[in-house]
Every structure is written in structure tokens, then in C-alpha cells.
Symmetry: C2
């Protein structure tokens, strides 16, 4: 058909008078691009655009796709402006006030594949590459991201689909090559507070000589991530080149400044998975393996904890997940060693950045106050990594790791890494803990038969962790410990009155500790 | 366990110094409650709250649950303020500056049922009531709403689940009782531009004497809803009591000011269904039937169009949907008559509020230029409604309806309704159309064998409909019409240069019309 033009319309969608001034709107919309147009926008009728849901903003040869919010306050955006949320604004890389064109955005090209997945179809390699590309490019709104996450949540992703998804996630970002035959890493599927084994495993295996450029992250819904805890001891925000030098010199690091470039779709998907607390096997496998492969790892030890309040609650469930991890890792050429661990309670004593850093340093210094469960678990995982060395016999890793720890070599390596990254001069003998405290005591005598991982994490988080480094929970009793009425079970630390009040409300509402008889202790699936 | 208090924390979560000043942030977040806290908020550490995703804001005995955005600009919200998006602010019913408490929100109680649905379980009556209650109370974020919509999208909702969902949606809002034995309504599942039969059916059946308080809505993704088109002729925003009087006096109305109170969860769900263009059978049935039952209807005629670019593309698909509608309607005590119609092309000539109002008035005035397809379809549907009268024999309704239309009684009733609602004095002989036009002509001779409903709707929408009432598309040729090269196929009307440019871009990119041989015309599934 031949469109013919009458009347006075412009001859192109980008006539000089159709642009608006770009404005940075200092609102953090948590990884969703949002555009703000005034309801009486001079050029675009914002309400008409509204239901179209997404607009494309072009300037300077770049563009972003954003969800539209309509604004009635000219101090936020005026009638000749288009506002962008902080993150979206940064993607355009121009100055405030720069001219920009706004257009209705076409739905992302992969939407058709997404609808097929929603309808229950099996998708192919090309479909996953198209979807992941659009996600990494921020072309999906939160609504579309959620639709993808829920549609791939059920047991309806087969192993090959998970492989295709993982492969597409690696392909969407940067991929590091350390030019060494073995690059080792460890990872835990999460859910266990205080589980800071990475900060012990890295110095042990680096001291042994293996290259271990640990990719770690900040907490999203937990009271502390490895990056938050390490930040108590050292600078963790370093440019990639600097980190790379540290890794080559010390064989390890505990910082990562540029994970966003590794498997970028993963960071975007997390923005909807975490608020929903969804952790589907398919997404967990693709998320973890894509990050590790993109970071250049050749060998990975994976910690899968089981327990009544862990992510996985039974051995058959853990075994199914292990097989899926192994299938995809094998297809991607990654050597994977899965270790199933005791997830019945938090690891160590402290929950929160400063408290966890204290525990880690105590283990490294062979302090008698060091939590033995953290020490034992770290040695077990480090031993398994050391066994990646073809010269080490299966079963010998643990003793090698223990020797490195007991001899002080792990501590020395940790100190070298801390100095290299930039020491914060943390004094773990006098840790700076939140000064407002709350003590929870036993109402009666008994044996500790349950500590709820989820509730302890939530209390620590409400108390201010990880944002307030000295906030958190310090556990005085662990599973199997006998207690008398009035004995201290745990202490909450906070720095702000409102935080302490939220944490107290949680401790009053429910019980993080269960007391009973020794024979009621939950079954340990794993000995170690 | 007994929490004990040490240090200087407050004794309650709502101490006098823990409140912030409430501030209306004039951003329309499209039915999602959003709260804005400054990153350096005096009381709450906004980043710590961020990943918790939702906060509860309490004031004056009321509360709202909102998704949190972190703000770095004190002109939007200051360090002692909590901002709320327009809609959320209105729910609290207080003045700007009023004190409010902010707390981390607990996940909605029905989240556990939602997770079971995501995992593929069948839910019971109580589960649906809990979920719909939380949705109607605005306790779900867009992410959670999408999860519900996608998890119930597959063919995994059985008939009883759809019944429970419908029942819960009715129960969550107001339910009208007109105190008459028969309250009739008609509805179309949508997807066909120009399908304004309601504006003919209502005056016909009201003139016949049946009570027809039409619940109609504004367009969300289409170029015009019945309310948008009726607004060209009369005021459609009237308080409920006034409408109720009009209905009692004239037996019908074509306006609705308070649909939000009828099945309120439906309005909330639409905010994610429409951007995704998801229209699952379960949700369509629950959405339509809950609104009609809440509005007090006892008899409903339902229009299900079929065609290559309609929502339903085959007769078996339409029959499956019909059976689901019938099952749920029967359980809910609603008398339902499903009519399967020709959805191969738009109905009438004009697409857009003014153009459609013109077509409707031409039919009512028995104007020779009136589109015959619109007239025939309206008579057929009105006839089926008239047959709800137990004194009318099956098959006689059409002739009764035709007599009412041909005699001018339908026009007289429409004029009475227009006067009662408040006339806008629309002159359909000289309709106020958008003055910028674009004509699309045939490139070669042939017969019109396809008109794409979706593309025509999109062009009309890009041209400015429904926000610009005079914008839209005027179709000069319909299916089966022979054309010569250069003949006008359709004309686009717009009021703004940028709108016309967007519409033209769409006409250039793809072809809304298909020309071919008469024998290539798509099969008509329905004779009428």
C-alpha cells in the first residue's frame, strides 16, 4: 500500500521541533528503566502513551527503552522535558538538558518466544538467545521479566533448555580468560546466614597456589554478602585491571568491581526473582554457572546445604538439583564438584558484616573462640578445591587445607590480599558493633533443637545489616547446646532506634529458637 | 523466647520521633502504589529497605502497602519525608505534610497460595478468596500480580478454579441489586475495532422495556472504548445515584462512574495483563463475569468474534471458551447466551471516538451511509437480549429489534439518555475530526481479502485515539470490495504532527490491507 501525505504533518518522525530536553530524575527504580513525561507534555500526549507501557528514548546515537510514568508536577519534569530514572539516564551517557526523541517502543523481538514459553512450549537455543539478549539490553519491563521467571519456574524447563539459557546468559556479556589451565572458584546456593566460607577458602587455596579470582556479590535479601563482609576488612570496589594484578600476584582476591559485565542478564533477572523469593532450579543453575563461566572459572566446588529452613529440605531434592547442575556444567565444559552440607542452622556465631568478619578472622588466627563449624566447613570445601590439582590424591585435600590454616599461611595470605585491596584496619578484637542491643533469653531449660535460618536472617536485616555494617545477630547457642531458663540465646545489635524496634517486633512475634529434648534434633543428612 | 531490652532503643515501633511527613508525589504509576524515600532518610535507611521491596505506610488509622523507590533529590522528597505516588496518596485520605509511620511490609498473607499455584498446584476456594482480597487491597506489587497472571495463564486452571476466582472477585467489591427480576447486559470479549454495538443495543432494549444499566469502560489498549465514544455525545462521568435515577427513568444508560468498586481486583489485574497482552481464558471469564454479576446483571449476551486477526482464530477454540463461560455463569446463577460472530475485520467504517460516534448515529437515524455490518450485528445481539423476555418466542427478537430501530424509537431513547446524562451537542453530520490526514491507497487492482484488526487498531491509536477524540482511521473499503489501483483504502486523522508521523511510520512498515482474488477471502465461520 502506498501512504500518501496530505495536511501539514512532518515528513519524518524526528523533525527538529519534536525533541524534548532530557532530564535526570534522581529516583532509583531498582534496575527498571522508567521514563517520566508530564501529562501536558508539549509534544507527546503522555496518557495516550501510557497504556502502550513502553517508550524508546533516542539521543546521540544511543537509545533506551523505558516504562512510562505520567507526571503532574512540573518541578519533576516540565512540559518540554522527558525525565529518566538514574540508571536509565546513565545508559545514554549525555548531559542533563540534551535533546532527545521519544517514540512508542515496539515490543521486544523475543516477546513471541516468551508467549510460547508461557503457553508451555519447549524453547530452542535461538529462542533463549533472543530472550536473554533483550533482557541484557534492558528491553524487558519488570512485568515481562516476571512473566519469563514464572513461565520458566515450573518443572517444565528440560535440561537442554537450562543449558541453552546458561549459554545465552554467558554470551550476552564479557567473558574473562585468565590464560591458566586451572581457575578455581567456590559458590553456595545461599540461604544459610553466616556462611562466610569463601573468606577462608580463598586464602587457603591461593596459599596452596591455585588461581582463585573470587567473584562475590553484595547481599540482596540476606543480612550480608561476601562483598559486604570483606568490605569491613578491605576495599572491595576496585577497577578490573587493578584486581587482575592482585589476582596474578597473590593467586586470589575477594572483591569484584565489574560483575555487571559478566552475565548481565542475571543481574536484571535478580531484580524480580528476589522480591518474589523465587529460586527455581533452572534459574539457579543458569544464574550461578553463567556468572562463573563468564568469570573464567574452569573448576567449581558448589555448596548445597540441606535443612528444615534451608533452600533445600530433603536429600532427593538436593540430588535432583545436583544432577541438573552437573548436566549443564558438563555441556559448558566446567568441571563441577557438588558438596552437600549441613544447612540446619546458621554457620558461625555472628550474622551481619562486622560480626561475620570477626568470626572469619578468629578462624584464620586459630583463636579458641573461633566457631568450629565455620572452620570445619571451610576446610572441607578448600580440600575439595585443592583436589582439583591432578597431583593431589582424592581425600588428601582436607589435611592439606588444615595444614595451611593451622600453620598461619592462610592468615598471611589473607593479610596480603587485604593490604593489596586496601586495608580498612579492622580490629576484630574490638569490633565496632551497633551500640543498641537486645538480648533474647531462654524462657525454660532444654536443648536447642531448631534455629530458623529465615527468621535469624530477617531479624539481622531489620536490625540494619548489611547497610549498617555493625548491625546483626550474635548467636550464643547452637543446635544441641543445653540451656537453662534465663540463658542468653542471641544478642541483636543495631545503630538506630527504629531498626532495633523493627527487629524487636520480629523477635516478639515468633521464635527463631526452638527448645526441646536432645532426641528431637533434626536429622543431619551430612556428616562433616 | 523473651526479648529483653538493653541500650537506648525505643519501646515501640511508633515512637513520636519516628514519623515522617507524608508528601504527595505527582507521579502516576499506573495502579501500583509506590513510596519514595530519600537515600539519606533521617529515620529509615532507604537502601536497607530497598531489597525488602515493600513498605507499609500508616497514618490516621489507615495504611497502604507500597513498593519502595529510593530518591536522591530532596526536591522530590526530603530526608524527613515519605513520598507516595498519586493513587497511593489518595488512599490515605490525609493532607500533604501529615505525619506517617513507615515499616517494612510483611509479604501478603496469600503469597503462600500464590507460590503453590506457581508450582502447578490446584487451588481451593479459600486460596482464591485470600489472593483476590490481597489484590483488591493493593497489597500485591506489579511483580506479584504478574506472577499470579502468568501462573494462572496455562490450561492448568480447571473449571472450578475459574468459578472460585470469579466468586472471589465478586466478593471483593460492591454488588448492586436493582430489585428487578431481569437486568440485562451485553459484552464482547474485545479485539475488534469499531465494534460499538452497545451504543445501539442499549437504546433498543431499553426502548423495548428491559432494564439495561450498561457497565462500560474506557479504552486501555484499543483506539476507543464505549465510554470514550459515548463521551463524544454525552457526559459519562456521573455519580452513582444520578446514574441510578437515569436507569430507572429511561431503562438504560451508557456511562459508568464507579466501576472501580465493582470487582476491584479486576482493575488491578488489568494493569499487568494489558501491557503483556495476555488474555488467558480463565482470566477473561473471571474478569467479565465478575464485573457483570457485581453490576447486578441477571442476563448476559456475550459476543465472541472469530477471525484470522481476532482474539480467537478457530471455532473449536471459541467453543471451548464458550463452554467455560457457560459453566462458570451457571455456577454463579447468571443466565448467559453466547453469540459467536464474524471477527474477520473491523466493524463499521470509523475507528476512534468521533468516527465511531458518527457511525452509531448514522445507524440510529437510518442514514443510507450507515455501516450495514454494525447495524446487522447490533440487531442480532439486541434480538437475543429481547428474547430474555419470557413472552418472546425464540427467533422473534431480531424482528422486534429491527422494528424499534427502523421506527425511530431507538433514536428517541438514545436522545433521551444523552439528554439525561448531559448532552455534548455532537453534530454527526459535521464531526470534529483531526485535521491532519494521511490517505492510504491501493497500489494495484484486486479484491479486499484481509483487513488486519490489530494493525488498524494500532494505527488509530498511534494517530492519537482515544485521547484525541477526533483521531483515528476511516475505512473506505471492507472485505470483498473490489478496488482499482489508486483507490482510497483508508484515511488516518490526527490532531498533532508527531502522532501523524508515528501512524505513518506504521502504515509504511506493514500492510493493514490485503488484496487478492475473491476466492481467497477467509472463511466466514458465522452467518448473520
Amino acid at each position: 500500500m502506498r501512504p500518501e501525505h496530505t495536511g501539514s504533518g512532518p515528513s519524518s518522525t524526528s523533525t527538529p521541533d519534536s525533541h524534548l530536553a532530557l532530564r535526570r530524575v534522581a529516583i532509583d527504580t531498582y534496575r527498571e528503566n522508567v521514563a517520566y513525561l508530564h501529562r501536558d507534555c508539549a509534544i507527546y500526549r503522555a496518557e495516550g502513551f501510557q497504556a502502550l507501557a513502553k517508550v524508546q528514548i533516542r539521543t546521540n546515537g544511543r537509545h533506551v527503552v523505558a516504562t512510562l510514568n505520567v507526571v503532574d508536577d512540573a518541578t519533576i519534569v516540565g512540559c518540554h522535558e522527558v525525565g529518566l530514572s538514574e540508571d536509565a539516564f546513565a545508559q545514554l551517557n549525555v548531559e542533563d538538558g540534551h535533546g532527545a526523541f521519544v517514540e512508542p517502543a515496539e515490543p521486544p523481538a523475543s516477546m513471541e518466544a516468551l508467549f510460547r514459553k508461557i503457553s508451555g512450549e519447549r524453547l530452542g537455543r535461538g529462542d533463549f538467545h533472543a530472550i536473554v539478549h533483550d533482557i541484557a539490553q534492558r528491553h524487558y519491563s519488570k512485568i515481562e521479566l516476571t512473566a519469563f521467571v514464572v513461565a520458566t519456574h515450573r518443572g517444565e524447563m528440560d535440561r537442554d533448555e537450562v543449558h541453552f539459557l546458561t549459554e545465552a546468559m554467558v554470551a550476552a556479556g564479557r567473558r574473562l580468560d585468565w590464560r591458566e589451565p586451572q581457575v578455581v572458584d567456590k559458590h553456595c546456593i545461599g540461604g544459610i546466614p553466616g556462611n562466610r566460607t569463601s573468606m577462608l577458602v580463598v586464602p587457603i587455596v591461593a596459599a596452596y597456589g591455585l588461581l582463585c579470582p573470587k567473584t562475590s556479590s553484595r547481599a540482596i535479601t540476606s543480612p550480608a554478602g561476601t562483598a559486604d563482609t570483606m568490605e569491613v576488612l578491605a576495599n572491595v570496589e576496585l577497577p578490573f585491571d587493578r584486581l587482575s594484578d592482585i589476582v596474578r600476584q597473590h593467586r586470589g582476591c575477594l572483591a569484584w568491581g565489574s560483575t555487571a559485565e559478566l552475565s548481565p542478564a542475571d543481574d536484571v533477572l535478580i531484580s524480580v526473582e528476589r522480591p518474589l523469593s523465587l529460586d527455581a532450579p533452572a534459574q539457579m543453575v543458569a544464574s550461578i554457572l553463567s556468572k562463573k563461566i563468564a568469570a573464567g572459572s574452569t573448576h567449581l566446588v558448589l555448596d548445597i546445604p540441606i535443612g528444615p529452613t534451608a533452600k533445600l529440605r530433603s536429600m532427593p531434592e538436593a540430588q535432583r538439583l545436583r544432577r541438573l547442575f552437573e548436566y549443564v556444567a558438563a555441556r559448558m565444559g566446567l568441571s563441577l564438584d557438588v558438596v552437600i552440607t549441613d544447612g540446619r542452622q546458621p554457620v558461625g556465631h555472628g550474622i551481619g558484616p562486622v560480626l561475620e568478619a570477626r568470626d572469619v578472622m578468629r578462624v584464620l588466627e586459630n583463636d579458641p573462640q573461633a566457631p568450629n563449624d565455620l572452620r570445619q566447613k571451610a576446610l572441607r570445601l578448600a580440600g575439595r578445591l585443592i583436589e582439583c590439582d591432578p597431583d593431589v590424591r582424592g581425600g588428601d585435600g582436607f589435611a592439606i587445607a588444615r595444614d595451611i590454616l593451622d600453620s598461619g599461611r592462610a592468615l598471611a595470605r589473607m593479610q596480603a590480599i587485604i593490604e593489596a585491596q586496601g586495608s580498612r584496619h579492622f580490629d576484630h578484637h574490638h569490633p565496632a558493633l551497633g551500640e543498641l542491643t537486645l538480648e533474647v533469653k531462654a524462657e525454660r531449660a532444654g536443648v536447642v533443637i531448631g534455629i530458623d535460618n529465615l527468621q535469624i536472617a530477617r531479624i539481622a536485616r531489620l536490625a540494619g545489616a548489611p547497610k549498617v555494617a555493625g548491625a546483626g545477630v550474635d548467636l550464643m547457642r547452637k543446635l544441641g547446646d543445653p540451656v537453662q531458663a534465663g540463658d542468653l540465646l542471641y544478642r541483636v545489635h543495631a545503630a538506630h532506634a527504629s531498626d532495633l524496634a523493627f527487629a524487636r517486633h520480629m523477635t516478639e512475634k515468633s521464635s527463631a529458637y526452638q527448645l526441646g529434648q536432645a532426641q528431637e534434633l533434626p536429622q543431619v543428612f551430612v556428616e562433616f
